[in-house]
């Protein structure tokens, strides 16, 4: 009996060491990757801004984008919404009035061919058509009637509209 425990423990111990080693190598790369991805997304959303400063608010944070003269050109907030089969994470660029200036989906796992079309890029275009529609719209005017929603993915479309409305209205009074 004791022998069994010893054998199993040895195997687990070896496995733990191997995994610890792998983690040590891969984790810094992973963190770097995440930072890089976020930085790139920030620049895409507010191309005019050259400097981004992160500010804390409640349990989250937002970015203030400034141009070369130090003038604030916009804010970038993190927005999350419950889609049909996943949590959709976005970065949304807004101005002080709550008008959307840019938007990027960081992660989503909606149904391929349906909800996943939120990231679909039409041929000849550079940016996904669905979320590009939100550009230039104030959060107060957002609803499914003035947005071309995705066929057979009403829940996903609705989730993004509602999620943006909720997150922007929540954060707007705190922006400075």
């Amino acid at each position: 009996m004791f022998r069994y425990a010893l054998i199993l423990m040895t195997i687990c111990l070896v496995s733990a060491f191997v995994l610890a080693g792998t983690y040590k190598v891969t984790h810094p790369v992973y963190l770097e990757q995440m930072l890089e991805e976020e930085k790139q997304a920030l620049g895409e959303i507010l191309p005019k801004a050259v400097d981004f400063k992160e500010r804390q608010y409640c349990d989250s944070s937002y970015f203030v984008g400034r141009d070369i003269q130090g003038k604030t050109v916009g804010y970038i907030i993190r927005a999350e919404t419950n889609g049909y089969s996943s949590i959709i994470k976005m970065l949304v660029g807004i101005d002080a009035e709550g008008t959307i200036v840019g938007i990027k989906i960081l992660s989503q796992q909606e149904t391929p061919g349906l909800g996943a079309k939120i990231t679909e890029v039409r041929s000849g275009k550079k940016k996904p058509w669905f979320i590009q529609q939100f550009k230039g719209k104030n959060f107060k005017d957002l609803n499914l009637e003035n947005i071309e929603s995705i066929t057979a993915a009403t829940i996903t479309s609705q989730a993004i509209v509602e999620g943006l409305k909720k997150e922007i209205s929540k954060i707007l009074p705190y922006l400075k």
């Binding site: 022998r3 069994y4 054998i7 199993l8 195997i11 687990c12 496995s15 191997v18 995994l19 792998t22 983690y23 891969t26 984790h27 790369v29 992973y30 990757q33 995440m34 991805e37 992660s107 796992q109 149904t111 391929p112 061919g113 349906l114 041929s123 057979a152």
Partner: protein, 208 residues
């Protein structure tokens, strides 16, 4: 009647193909075959885990008592799966996002424990390695066939390149029922050819 190393490898592609022949590992075969790029990523992960776990298990088979062999196998398999997951996280974040839960689920993939139990714990390291490689390549082969059919018919594209220019794609193939339908038709075709060649068609699937 010992098989040669090449036969250990090639049986995974023909007679005992994991998906079409043994009907094992269907969960990833159905779920991850929505696009060819997912299928390729999943295949690479399975080939790696299957080959490595076969090598390790066959080399420590004398140390493992029969009574606790399953927990030992699972620890070895889970270790390799976690390595794959950490590497995907760090170097292929996009692939990791699209494979999602199916990477950790390789741990309980029938083929891998099945090969450990049925092959690696009774054969030499060399044979087990070729068996693992063959089974892994066989699984990849099936997964890629299924995903090509589903992606072309379901979205009209292959690896993001449009191939069905005029026809409206049938969304059915991308969704879950399309996976079962495609797999069913492919198994029927493979059984048909086996039957013609006089090989016995196994009527019962599952882990035995």
């Amino acid at each position: 009647m010992k098989r040669t190393l090449f036969q250990e490898f090639s049986k995974g592609l023909s007679v005992s193909n994991p998906v079409f022949g043994l009907v094992l590992g269907l969960c990833p075969a159905l779920a991850v075959s929505t696009s060819v790029s997912n299928a390729i990523g999943m295949s690479a992960a399975v080939i790696f885990v299957l080959t490595c776990s076969n090598i390790i298990i066959s080399s420590i088979k004398r140390l493992i008592p029969k009574e606790i062999r399953l927990p030992c196998f699972i620890v070895v398999i889970a270790t390799f799966v976690t390595i794959v997951e950490l590497v995907l996280h760090a170097y292929f974040p996009n692939l990791r996002t699209s494979l999602g839960i199916f990477v950790p689920l390789i741990v309980v993939n029938c083929i891998i424990l099945g090969r450990a139990e049925a092959f690696a714990c009774r054969n030499t390291v060399m044979r087990s390695m070729f068996d693992g490689l063959g089974m892994g390549v066989g699984f990849s082969f099936s997964l890629i066939i299924i995903s090509v059919i589903r992606e072309v018919l379901g979205t009209g594209e292959i690896l993001g390149i449009p191939v069905l220019a005029k026809a409206e794609p049938a969304l059915f193939f991308v969704l879950a029922p399309g996976a079962l339908f495609t797999l069913g038709v492919l198994i029927a075709i493979s059984n048909h050819f086996r039957y013609k060649r006089g090989q016995t068609v196994k009527l019962k699937g599952g882990c035995h």
